[in-house]
């Protein structure tokens, strides 16, 4: 594996003091790889923006170190860091034209006029805004302003591009469009992107890797697939997509580790479980469970259908388990699929062994 583009080691940051102190970051360590589309995902207040601002140099960490290509940059002010930011509000300079905005960083770096002009034109082409150089920021639509902010941040070819929820101000259609645009830019420029968002679907569809954050800590880092399919924490499982949680006893059965629910039900767990027996929480995605007949037998959870919600591509079935806790199950709508039992009908839920994921708290 290549050396990390950004190395964060033991970063801590607290805002305020005394009673009002808020711990924004708590011992965060991360290695972001070169050319990676890396996403910091979490609810508001989880510390993701603070982390981004530390990398950008807008805040100073209380402890820890930030290295860029192996060089420590922790004490450098923003203007000495080869890192650029796309701000949530875009922060386009209202008194400068689009071209002057894009060329601002080049100006500060002392580029020659000719070179700068060519570069600005190239950047505007890159973001598909040829000919917009003379406009004022106030004359741009939201999507155009977004592209100008991107062009401006990419103009000086930074080692890393930081994006602070850049799509949050756009409407849904434009957001989808900009998502693929961002992905294209990242591939074309080969620059490492660090992207902050609270939108899990955005994170899943765009990222090479995702770090899920909560309360100033990184809970899990992994590819979108890993994060979605093998969440390790209850919070991660809950925050990304929909999930059913099952509490039970971890037992060692002849066929390997299993989850014992009540007296009767025993569900197989994926191989390789090393946890000691005891109370555990396991999770299963709604689309991984299957609806079977009530008479199915030992491997199925007895349940009762509460409600059937039809949603076009799929149908969600809301059920109650024997103990009363809710369970959610999703079925693809295929041609010729059998009619679902009516609400109130007793059914069984089958969970394939590989679909059950043990969670740490």
């Amino acid at each position: 594996m290549a050396a990390a583009a950004i190395d964060l080691a033991g970063l801590a940051k607290t805002f305020g003091s005394g009673e009002e102190a808020v711990r924004a970051l708590d011992q965060v360590s991360l290695a972001i790889r070169p050319n990676e589309f890396f996403t910091l995902l979490g609810p508001s207040g989880c510390g993701k923006t603070t982390l981004l601002r530390l990398i950008g140099g807008f805040e100073q960490p209380d402890a820890g170190e930030i290295r860029l290509d192996g060089q420590p940059i922790t004490d450098l002010p923003p203007h000495r860091r080869p890192v650029n930011t796309v701000f949530q509000s875009y922060a386009l300079f209202p008194h400068l034209s689009v071209a002057d905005n894009v060329g601002f960083g080049l100006d500060m770096l002392g580029w020659a006029t000719q070179q700068k002009r060519r570069r600005v034109a190239d950047m505007l082409t890159l973001v598909r805004l040829e000919g917009y150089g003379g406009r004022r920021p106030s004359q741009l639509s939201g999507g155009q302003a977004q592209r100008v902010a991107l062009a401006r941040a990419l103009a000086a070819s930074p080692k890393v591009l930081l994006l602070d929820e850049p799509l949050s101000a756009l409407d849904l259609k434009l957001r989808k469009e900009m998502q693929s645009e961002l992905k294209r830019l990242q591939t074309e420029t080969g620059i490492t992107f660090v992207f902050v968002t609270h939108d899990q679907s955005e994170a899943l569809s765009m990222s090479d890797r995702i770090a899920v954050m909560q309360h100033g800590r990184v809970l899990q880092v992994g590819s979108p697939r890993e994060i979605y399919e093998t969440p390790r924490h209850r919070f991660v499982a809950d925050f990304i997509g929909e999930i059913n949680l099952l509490e039970g006893e971890l037992v060692q059965a002849p066929g390997g580790a299993a989850l014992q629910l009540g007296e009767q039900i025993r569900l197989g767990l994926p191989p390789g479980v090393t946890r000691a027996p005891g109370r555990v929480t396991a999770a299963v995605r709604p689309e991984r469970a299957q609806l079977v007949a009530a008479s199915h037998g030992n491997g199925a959870l007895p349940a009762r259908i509460d409600q059937v919600v039809y949603a076009g591509t799929d149908t969600t079935v809301l059920l109650s388990l024997a103990g009363g806790q809710p369970f959610r199950l999703r079925i693809q709508n295929r041609t010729g699929a059998a009619e679902l039992p009516a609400p109130g009908a007793p059914v069984g839920i089958e969970i394939p062994p590989g679909s059950l994921q043990l969670l740490e708290d």
């Binding site: 922060a91 960083g105 500060m108 941040a153």
Partner: protein, 284 residues
């Protein structure tokens, strides 16, 4: 409150008439004064015909011109000093929180709160104590003090309305703090500074009470001179010079108002006028 004026619920009979009377009360005296300044008669209040002759008389009066010159000198210097101090103060107040900040805010607003006559007395006593002879210098000092808050307020408002991430963006784009100030903060602050300077200028130009106390014999400003004229008698000359002062004040204040709103009005977006296919030239 944001209401639809056409909504029947919000129709209060008589309120429109009351507002109309209010504005009539506010502007009638001003309009009468301006009208009478063009009176041909040498009786100040009896209309006999249109004439601009009294403006000629005013502009030919050496004493008035000398007083006007004093006023301009005082207003210019007081405005420059006060605006500089106010700009620095606004910037200092905007750079984060520090102890005693609200105390400073109150200090800067002090000249707005204390009645003019009290300020006048206090300032006069100070000059008497330190033995500074009354003259243009004392007038300029006194004016600078009360000009500071007038210059400060629009600048502060402009700074507060400014997006803080803009300076962060400048830093992010390799501008050091000084470059960031010169290339981003200052150009955006400029309308506020100009607006504040104009307000300070007009407040200085118009001041009478404080000037009356601290101006020596040789430092008669235009308002002090006009006061003397009014006390002697009502003449068409006073009408003309009063109308002139009125027009200058209104012009400068309107200008200040327009300047402060500069580039803050996003309603005129030519993007919608020119269409998206318009090709503007590359920057030169």
């Amino acid at each position: 409150m944001r209401v639809d004026p056409a909504n029947r619920l919000w129709r209060y009979p008589g309120i429109r008439l009351a507002a109309l009377l209010f504005f009539a009360f506010l502007y009638l005296p001003i309009l009468v004064l301006i009208a009478l300044s063009f009176n041909a008669n040498d009786q100040a209040t009896i209309w006999t015909g249109f004439s601009g002759q009294w403006y000629g008389v005013v502009l030919g009066n050496d004493d008035i011109l000398r007083a006007a010159r004093n006023s301009l000198v005082v207003a210019t210097i007081a405005t420059l000093v006060a605006t500089l101090a106010a700009t620095l103060a606004a910037l200092g107040m905007a750079t984060g929180r520090f102890a005693g900040q609200s105390l400073i805010q109150g200090l800067i607003a002090l000249p707005l709160v204390v009645p003019e006559i009290v300020t006048a007395v206090a300032t006069l006593l100070l000059f008497a104590l330190i033995g500074l002879p009354l003259g243009l210098t004392t007038v300029i000092i006194a004016h600078t003090v009360f000009c500071v808050p007038f210059a400060y307020l629009p600048i502060r408002a402009r700074l507060e309305g400014m997006d803080r991430t803009l300076t962060e963006a400048a830093g992010d784009l390799y501008a050091n703090p000084w470059q960031s100030f010169r290339r981003v903060t200052l150009p955006l602050l400029w309308p506020g500074v100009l607006s504040g300077a104009m307000l300070a200028f007009i407040i200085s130009l118009d001041d009478f009470v404080i000037t009356y106390f601290v101006a020596g014999a040789g430092a008669t400003t235009l308002p002090v001179y006009i006061f003397g004229m009014i006390r002697i008698g009502i003449t068409p000359e006073v009408n003309a010079i009063s109308a002139l002062m009125l027009v200058v004040s209104i012009a400068v204040v309107s200008l200040s108002y327009l300047t402060a709103r500069l580039r803050q009005d996003p309603s005129t977006s030519p993007a919608t006028l020119t269409g998206h296919e318009t090709r503007t030239g590359e920057p030169t």
